[in-house]
Symmetry: C2
Subunit: 257 residues, 2 copies
DNA sequence: GCGAAATCGGGTATGGTGTACGCGGAATCA
DNA sequence: TGATTCCGCGTACACCATACCCGATTTCGC
């Protein structure tokens, strides 16, 4: 067990937003900086991609950049703020060119958005470790969110309903990624192999099953639901369920005057 | 921005499982312990409930219990392992007495499970900060999971499908809780009020909208989708969508021989 | 051109975290 | 009774973020 809880939108919000939106004038006096904010952010992303948020420290970023740790505070106000910048930077990878929604195309559009989001978590698993309850909105995150909403435009949904649909899909995608992506990185991060993790606890489970405890779980387990295979947990299957639900609502709602 | 990434199922798995399942013999020699594992776990839960995982440290738990920090390591192998114990302990609060699923009752059953899970996150927001990608299964978590699976029993679903349905709902519940529960605790944790958070970034957003950027998002925002109200983000609405999708699948699947 | 002002680089220090190691004392076993 | 086991916890170490401040660099204004 390692430890680092990370929350978007903390620290010096004003300074972070100024950096995100490029609204601060460059200094007109003083020594020339040896780095740029973009360099710091890029380096931090690479470190987090490689070693997770656990592996991200100001010292390590400084080391990678061959500067003193405290120099970094010339570029970003703090570690919190650095993570906010990282979050917006990686969201540049999300789809932005979605088509406006229509009864025939919204499902494909929302599927594209969902897959794009899922792929982002695959590339940058650390993003899942940052609480997005109160995000800071930068140019990239707003563009991606605009694109997602666009897929459910033109269906006669209220603004609130549109936001809810996009959010339901995103919640599902994130929830799934937490299982699949984090499962895939767990062995490396923890130093405990999947076989060891499963093998250590299996005897406890099978002993409980043998006593007749947890009968449905026993049946599902014995039915092979958790057998290791490539589609151990099906992103596509569950996504279809969520989209089915949205489709049902869209269809039903249209039927009402 | 504060920092603590927390992963279930790390550290000394064997020792943790022995504690979870009560499979270790109490010592027959040596001084009598002044505490119990349950006391340590209970105190840690109370601290985490009050101050989040950020606020949980071995030093603080020891202080609450009026013992030296290092004494705690007599009861739990480490902080990782303590969190695993905490996770199973709070899951005792989840519903376990669900009825076996049937075409008429599965939806109500799964709704009960979803609401129970959501309520757990409300009471113990820190649980959301622990990655469950590779959990350790203790008696309470297995009982709760068994109960969830029981609601989708008897519908002719395969073991894999049953697991997928339960997981889709859980993913949705967790995703939603991350937004609503963590939003509600964000101001206190960060020291930044909701008004400050929103008010600091709103000028940047409205400036972008004024330039014609993010048109769909602008429309949704101006349509009042993010206005503060009690049902800002609707847990029930989204859950119905997910359940609708499952219902559609269950109905469709039954139609196939 | 010079002095003042602004800003960069980063050393030092502080406060916080988890936990390895090992000593003294308490309790039980043979 | 002596040997063995185990509890309590002090000490020390390694790691983390960052406040404060000094010296050096660069630009502005007179």
């Amino acid at each position: 067990m390692s430890s680092d809880d990370t929350y978007a939108g903390a620290g010096n919000l004003q300074a972070t937003l100024d950096l995100l939106w490029g609204t601060q004038e460059p200094p007109s006096r003083g020594p020339k900086p040896s780095l740029s904010v973009e360099q710091v952010v890029r380096t931090a992303i690479a470190l987090a991609d490689a070693d997770g948020l656990d592996g991200l420290s100001m010292r390590r970023v400084a080391e990678e950049l061959s500067v003193g740790t405290m120099s970094l505070y010339r570029y970003v106000p703090g570690k919190s703020e650095l993570v906010d910048l990282m979050l917006d930077a990686v969201q540049a990878e999300l789809p932005t060119g979605t088509s406006p929604g229509s009864p025939d195309t919204w499902r494909a559009g929302l599927t594209e958005v969902a897959h794009g989001e899922y792929a982002l978590y695959r590339r940058h698993p650390w993003v899942l470790r940052v609480s997005q309850a109160r995000p800071l909105f930068g140019p990239n995150s707003m563009a991606a969110y605009d694109a997602a909403l666009r897929t459910v435009e033109g269906l006669g949904l209220s603004a609130h309903e549109m936001a809810s649909m996009a959010a339901a899909v995103s919640c599902y995608v994130q929830g799934t990624a937490r299982i699949t992506v984090e499962f895939d990185t767990a062995a490396r991060r923890s130093g405990i192999s999947d076989e060891q993790w499963w093998g250590t606890q299996l005897p406890f489970m099978t002993a409980a099953f043998a006593e007749g405890r947890y009968p449905t779980l026993a049946k599902v387990y014995q039915g092979g639901a958790y057998d290791p295979d490539d589609d151990f947990f099906s992103f596509g299957f569950g996504l279809e369920r969520v989209l089915d639900g949205i489709e049902s609502y869209v269809r039903t709602r249209k039927a009402q005057p």
